[in-house]
Subunit: 186 residues, 2 copies
Amino acid sequence: MAAVNKPVNNGVNVDALLAAREALKAAPEAAEFTWRASCKWLNGTHSRSTVDSYHGLGQEQKHRTQFSFEADHPEVFASEDNGATPVELVLVGLASCLTAGVAAVAQNRGIQLRSVEAKLEGKMNLYGILGIDSDVRNGYDGIKVTFKIDADASKKDIEALVAQSQKRSAVYDIVTNPTNVTVEVL
Amino acid sequence: MAAVNKPVNNGVNVDALLAAREALKAAPEAAEFTWRASCKWLNGTHSRSTVDSYHGLGQEQKHRTQFSFEADHPEVFASEDNGATPVELVLVGLASCLTAGVAAVAQNRGIQLRSVEAKLEGKMNLYGILGIDSDVRNGYDGIKVTFKIDADASKKDIEALVAQSQKRSAVYDIVTNPTNVTVEVL
């Protein structure tokens, strides 16, 4: 049997993305997006957040369905562990952003992915959040991301994929660079 | 009927937290935590992340159950919208961190909470992630958090609660200050 030259399909519609890129160049206001989340306190450190609508392409948009997330602190912090901790949710955001980027870049470069796995670890000294030592930050000392990728490509090309995903990742930017946060009480 | 002087109960065990604070002062190595997430690519920009184990108090720890999160890009990005976007997950992390902090600080200050709601908005210009303009960042231009809190306290005391929660929030620190992220490919 002759070898079949199967087209690369990672499930990313790169043609549509490239067309959107051209369309947005001509309509800058459509590129202004607002993402939202709402959070309700349930009890103790337990909360439920929902993600539902956003603004983009010049109008209000809705997700296909509402997404809901429970967060809590673990039992070792005298809490009920009813959900992931907020800092783990940040790791999930970073992991999913870099992973989506790997798939999109692979599609654009004609690389067929078979599997992509990322493991993330963030180290944190509790002396920060507990207010024991003001020289210790509240957040992560650092985050380590380890990718394991099976794809029709050399190690070097896979590393280049991951590097390009980092370069275009929104969450990588949010975590590695400062973002202004304003907090208001109604 | 006589007024009943009900003790404040926001569901946060402040005594246990203060005891833990003292115990950790005497055992600095127990305060070194590692939080983790694992992410598997499913198809396109769709991934599933899980949160399960962490390290702290000098040993491996497990959440009561594994938490799982689906992330995806929306249909306006030619994706299937099978989950929240990674940048919305960051908003959820920030919202839940500040909300847990409000509850813990309120408990410590003897303020009874009745309800706490937070609405978050992050603005983003897609010219960054699409690589149209290298002067536009990939992440949020800024994030606005709006709290609506019903509690047995003055507006001023409620604002002070929120300010103290910000001051001790791990995710607020991660978002507003730079965090080093290293990415490795196995």
